[in-house]
Amino acid sequence: MATTSFKINIVIDGKDYAGEPNQTVLDVARANSVDIPTLCFNPLFPEQRIGSCRLCLVEVKAGGRPGLQPSCTMPVSSGLSVSTISDAVYQARRTVVELLLSEHVQKCRDCPVSGECQFAKLCRDYDINGVPVCAECPNQGEGCLLTRGELCLGPLTYANCNAYCTRKGYRCEGCHSIMANEDILRFGLKAYKDAGFTKEEILVAAKVFSYDSMEMLEKIMTQEGF
């Protein structure tokens, strides 16, 4: 007679799933294609559960201590019911991304992760405007349109479009408007300086979609020695 392995039944978003005794809620969710975002969890080292990024928060509805709990460190237990899509979960995760973003060094054009940036994806998923188009753009390094002489507005423009135009090789027109974060603008402007664009050229291009930001952009450009 074949041995049947011992299964624990849990409920995620109202649907029944079966997990092994040594699994966490995150494991069961991933095994069943339920989306739970993570940043600190590294799939290469699944045994390490740091539980520090707090993005995998789920809301315990029944069968455990009620409230928001990190799913990566929560073992499955019989009768457990969690929600991954409740308002409380969305708001908590959004706050987490916002807090991470406030500390994030916006050097997307140097970051090796750029192009497939998890963080940019999270900003998109949780409707946070904070990263430039470069964070989502796959044309890094040699492929950068700026270095090829195209006046791409990617470094100055809010992302959340998954770099729709630059991904296909067209310059960014800046239709999501110029970012309000002066530090990011300062960093982005260095790229234009390296590529040899003048103040006048950049302002004329940016003015189409960001008339309101012209004063700020001009001030920063003057400070940066354009």
Binding site: Y164, C165, K168, G169, Y170, R171, E173, V208
Partner: protein, 441 residues
């Protein structure tokens, strides 16, 4: 007899805001008007001072549906002003872009906006329940047209790939082959949709009013991208002379300018193109025109819906022809065009889904725009709609008020008006609380 007071404010299932006003007493009409109440757009003034390469992206925002047409008219005006030649390959790709837009727009109008009238329901939503297969076929056709636009133009709306001097980045031959296959797959689906429209075409009122039809004409093709401005009433003229063709004037009840040429009004759009160029349609499109009994010159504005479907079929077949030419000729990756700006004036005329579109620009020697003028197809149709009302309404007066209203609404919808695009004038002066309008540019 009773009084009839119809005031449709605003008409639904059209783009923008327009009102229908009908007041009749004892069988005589006191007032019948097509009013455009949309706010002016002021595009012509805010492109002033902008460099030549920004004009197409800005003016394409006049419309979300005809953005490709606006881009091409804008580019053609810029290229005419600066004497820029574009390669044959770019010309062909631009023709594909126009077809992509025609496919998108015509199926949207016929499928989502007119079909509910043919089935006697209020919108496309009830049709999802009653005729799911047909609605899904229309969604599928629309999607394929969007994919084609995405490939050729870089986006489904507001193109990034069309630039002064040609094409920014040549699409790969492999992607074009995919699009070709998609287009071939569209033919049976399109035929099925055509049969449904044909079966319900009896719902289109039989109303005739002779008017002037204006559209681009050429000797060798069903003119959409290029050609002379032809008319049923006069010899073809060069687009440069567009001001003597459109003859814009202002009426107090409309924020859009009205136009007329040889007669009281004229019509542009799919029916005008069909009436002038029917013999140059593709074989399958001709077949469909015969099935619908559509023959030039057809004076029934409601047949514009049918003409749109015929053009839809033509666009599929002609796109396949152009793609075959491109692939057989050996596509090459052309470099991004470089333009040397210079002073000049140019007019661009393109046939967009709703009819003939003009853009005119004047540039200084640095390539900055000094003056711009855009004449939008719906702009030219407003007067014709108004004249149609005057002829159509008296034939309806013995019917119930709801039916009169529906017929008048269907008449406006047949023109596929893009109302907010058409409101182009400047200088509104408020004098003692009453509004007097001055013609701008």
């Amino acid at each position: 007899m009773s009084e009839i007071n119809i005031n449709v404010e605003h008409l639904t299932r059209v783009e923008g805001h327009g009102n229908i006003v009908l007041n009749a007493k004892d069988g005589t009409i006191e007032k019948i008007q097509w009013q455009v109440s949309e706010a002016p757009r002021l595009f012509e003034s805010f492109v002033r001072g902008k460099p030549y390469n920004q004009l197409a992206p800005i003016t394409s925002r006049i419309c979300g549906i005809c953005s490709i047409g606006h881009t091409l008219a804008s580019l053609k005006a810029t290229e005419a002003a600066m004497d820029i030649e574009i390669s044959e390959q770019s010309q062909k790709l631009r023709r594909l872009a126009i077809h992509a837009e025609n496919l998108q727009s015509h199926i949207l109008h016929v499928g989502y906006l007119v079909a509910p009238d043919l089935f006697g329901v209020g919108s496309v939503v009830p049709l999802v329940g009653s005729n799911p297969d047909e609605v899904l076929a229309i969604v599928k056709l629309h999607r394929q047209a969007n994919l084609m636009s995405d490939l050729i133009c870089g986006r489904t709306t507001h193109p990034t790939n069309l630039v002064p001097g040609g094409i920014y980045k040549t699409p790969s031959p492999y992607a074009l082959k995919d699009i070709r296959q998609n287009l071939l797959d569209m033919v049976p689906t399109g035929n099925a949709v055509g049969e449904v429209i044909l079966a319900n075409a009896g719902a289109l009122p039989d109303f005739k009013r002779d008017t002037e039809y204006i559209a681009l004409v050429t000797d060798d093709e069903y003119a959409l991208y290029d050609g002379m401005v032809g008319s049923t009433d006069e010899e073809p003229q060069h687009a440069d002379a567009y001001k003597t063709i459109v003859n814009e004037f202002v009426v107090p009840y409309s924020t859009a300018k009205f136009t007329k040429n040889k007669r009281d009004s004229y019509m542009v759009g799919a029916l005008a193109r069909f009436n002038l160029n029917a013999d140059k349609l593709s074989p399958l499109a001709k077949e469909w025109a015969d099935k619908f009994g559509l023959k030039p010159v057809n004076p029934n504005p409601f047949m514009n819906n049918v003409a749109q479907f015929v053009e839809f079929v033509h666009s599929i077949e002609d796109s396949v022809r152009i793609i075959d030419e491109l692939l057989d000729g050996g596509m090459k990756q052309e470099p991004t065009p470089k333009v040397t700006p210079k002073a000049g004036r140019g007019v661009g005329a393109v046939e967009v889904p709703r009819g003939l579109l003009f853009h005119e620009y004047e540039y200084d020697d640095k390539g900055n725009c000094v003056k711009a003028n855009c004449v939008i197809p719906t702009n030219m149709n407003h007067n014709n709609i108004n004249q149609d009302f005057a002829a159509f309404a008296p034939t309806l007066l013995d019917r119930p008020e709801k039916e009169i209203e529906l017929n008048l609404e269907m008449l406006v919808r047949a023109y596929d008006p893009c109302i907010s695009c058409s409101t182009h004038y400047l200088n509104v002066e408020w004098v003692n609380g009453s509004e007097t309008k001055k013609e701008g540019n």
